[in-house]
Symmetry: C2
Subunit: 186 residues, 2 copies
DNA sequence: ATACAATTCTAACGAACGTTAGGTAGGGGG
DNA sequence: CCCCCTACCTAACGTTCGTTAGAATTGTAT
């Protein structure tokens, strides 16, 4: 009967519900209804509601982030960052929802203290990572750290636009904005 | 017995709860407990939970936004935007929470369709407004619209940092980032 | 065929939810 | 003194929640 692995189907539907209604707004009953299984089925695969939510953030979301962070870069830094953002447009619906849910927790709009701490740890790695990427292109800038910070801030909004607000951002607009911040670097 | 107007006290506590636990995570009982009043007291002043939430967004949040939008500007555009962001640091705790809650609805992490539509209407006014402010300083730029868009995007992240993540942003950092985007304008 | 484990179910538990019915307390005007 | 309105209460309604007990079903190895 199962078209896919039941455990996976539950997680997919859960992502949808947590995304639309938040942790507290999501009910196990509604998940079960959409999965087309009985209610205790959920408890067969996940010990409780929180464990289901945690697995989505800890596994799915961070897998996504780490995949992104490991992208190889071209030799043109503006191309690289443009592609980095633009490719978010074509993320699968599932990945987009996972991403959105992660950002929700990152902004402490959902989830709990424990997940927030994991987010904080990750956040600390962001600036240094981009500084490493950009360093070669910023050698003749006196405000290199500020430029990296500004770029990361801009990226954050662009990511939110695509993933959270579910807008499509044209490549040209992304390139324009990144170019404005990285003006003078090449 | 009432130190303040009861209706106002309920709203203040409600802001706190909606902020920490979201709409679905907030219970009328817990609000009543923190207000130190009985449960039906809430229903004496507000018809139901949703009306309480809606009043916070529709009145408190948009009052805040409109107050911000009406700020007078100095003759130095970088000073103006730096002050615009920096002043968010010293928002009252209540206002900060209202702001945070508004952004949560804006990102459709909470609230309902109806509130989202109000947010969309507001959002449409943002770019034109800043374009009007910046136009005089951008006359010799060919990508003026892109610069305005980039600045608004940067502002969004800075606002989120202060209001949502509850960080303090030093004036100098704000000024640096805004200057990078507005490089060449004065 | 039979035994056993993995998978899925029906039914129900207690607790907490939003909301309401119907009361009490107190003060100001007649 | 009594009436009535405002402000507040206790108690309960019906519903839905997360979770579990325990049985039915299915698949698989012998």
């Amino acid at each position: 009967m199962a078209e896919k692995d039941m455990r996976e189907r539950i997680k997919e539907v859960a992502v949808e519900h947590f995304n639309s209604n938040g942790y507290h707004g999501t009910t196990i009953r509604n998940i079960a209804k959409d999965v087309n299984c009985s209610l205790p089925m959920i408890y067969y695969y996940y010990n409780n509601k929180k464990e289901l939510f945690d697995e989505i953030i800890k596994k799915e979301y961070f897998d996504l982030l780490k995949g992104q962070a490991a992208l190889l870069r071209t030799n043109n830094i503006i191309d690289f960052y443009t592609k980095f953002v633009y490719d978010l447009n074509s993320l699968s619906n599932y990945d987009k929802k996972v991403y959105r849910l992660g950002i929700k927790v990152y902004l402490s709009f959902d989830g709990d203290e424990e997940l927030m701490e994991i987010m904080d740890e990750w956040e600390k790695t962001i600036l240094p990572r981009h500084y490493q990427i950009l360093k070669p292109y910023l050698e003749n800038a006196d405000n290199d750290i500020a430029i990296v910070r500004t770029l990361v801030h801009l990226l954050e909004t662009l990511i939110v636009s695509i993933v959270v607000k579910n807008r499509f951002l044209p490549e040209e607009e992304i390139r324009e904005e990144i170019s404005i911040v990285l003006r003078g670097c090449e």
